[in-house]
């Protein structure tokens, strides 16, 4: 690996931070969800980097499972968002202060 693992780790740390700050700053639930995807991708990049650095295919297997869990999470999360928006139009995360409101 000619580009050292440290650069990949730095990139994924920056990507994770952007996702985390976006999750804290944005109010639109869909964009917050996309920020979660950014953080998941940063973690995936770290897994693949260590799989390469430590010569271990287990890191890539972990990314495989993360992809499956991310797909399931997006399906359920978007179902929840659709259910929320059907009940009340134009809801942001700040308006959702009740579980059954």
């Amino acid at each position: 690996m000619s580009v050292s693992a440290g650069w990949y780790l730095t990139l994924s740390a920056v990507l994770f931070t952007i996702g985390a700050v976006g999750l804290l700053v944005r109010r639109n639930v869909l964009v917050m969800f996309m920020c979660v995807e950014l953080m998941l991708n940063a973690a995936n990049l770290t897994f693949v980097t260590f799989a390469r650095q430590l010569d271990d295919i287990g890191g890539q297997s972990a990314v495989f499972f993360v992809l499956v869990v991310a797909a399931a999470e997006v399906v359920v999360g978007l179902g929840i968002i659709v259910a929320i928006f059907r009940r009340r139009a134009g809801a942001t995360a700040d308006d959702l202060n009740l579980l059954k409101g």
Partner: protein, 199 residues
């Protein structure tokens, strides 16, 4: 030995250029996700980031994961996002200037800077390599990436693999339950009322 060294140098230069280009694409896409006022633009910036990560997967010899990243993430998940954005009609712009909770934004940036410093410090000063033998198998060696990944998933990680299928079934059932019309239980009452009102 300049003649023998030049291919190595050329490969290094190509790798570096690929990394820098992919990193620029990833970071601009991520900033676009966070800062776009329109959710549709955020979703398209997310595609940019996902493609950049796929390029870096290829650069690190994870060809199968790169393909899955493009097909599942950019193909299915982002399309699902766009579908929901269009379905519930929130493709109007959000005022990102408004600070709903006073001090939330500076606190978020401060927390982000703290977390970034922590992560970079960990990456810089922590010694990751313990010398423990790999339990899942080597990533290098003969055979394709798909072959080695498949052997790992279907032998050592077989039980987690089966559990993910259960997870997917649960997710499908949950999505159907969530997306069902809420008036299903109320429908018989309405019908009874309509019947009572009609004669």
């Amino acid at each position: 030995m300049p003649a023998a060294l030049s291919p190595v140098l050329a490969a290094t230069a190509v790798d570096t250029v690929v990394f820098i280009a992919a990193a620029a694409v990833i970071l601009s896409g991520a900033l676009g996700v966070v800062s776009s006022r329109n959710p549709v633009h955020s979703a398209l910036s997310l595609v940019l980031t996902l493609f950049g990560v796929a390029v870096l997967f290829v650069a690190q010899d994870a060809q199968f994961l790169a393909a899955v990243q493009v097909i599942v993430y950019a193909g299915a998940i982002v399309v699902l996002f766009l579908f929901v954005i269009m379905l519930i009609g929130v493709d109007r712009e959000e005022d990102v200037r408004a600070d709903p909770l006073r001090g939330q934004r500076p606190a978020a940036f401060a927390l982000g800077a703290l977390g970034l410093a922590e992560l970079l410090g960990l990456a810089r000063f922590h010694h990751w390599v313990t010398g423990a033998p790999s339990a899942a198998g080597a990533a290098s060696g003969p055979g394709s990436n798909v072959e080695k990944l498949a052997r790992s998933v279907f032998t050592r990680y077989l039980l987690p693999f089966e559990v993910t299928s259960v997870l997917l079934v649960i997710a499908v059932v949950g999505a159907v339950v969530l997306a069902r019309r809420p008036s299903r239980s109320a429908a018989p009452e309405e019908r009874r009322q309509e019947e009572a009102a009609s004669p």
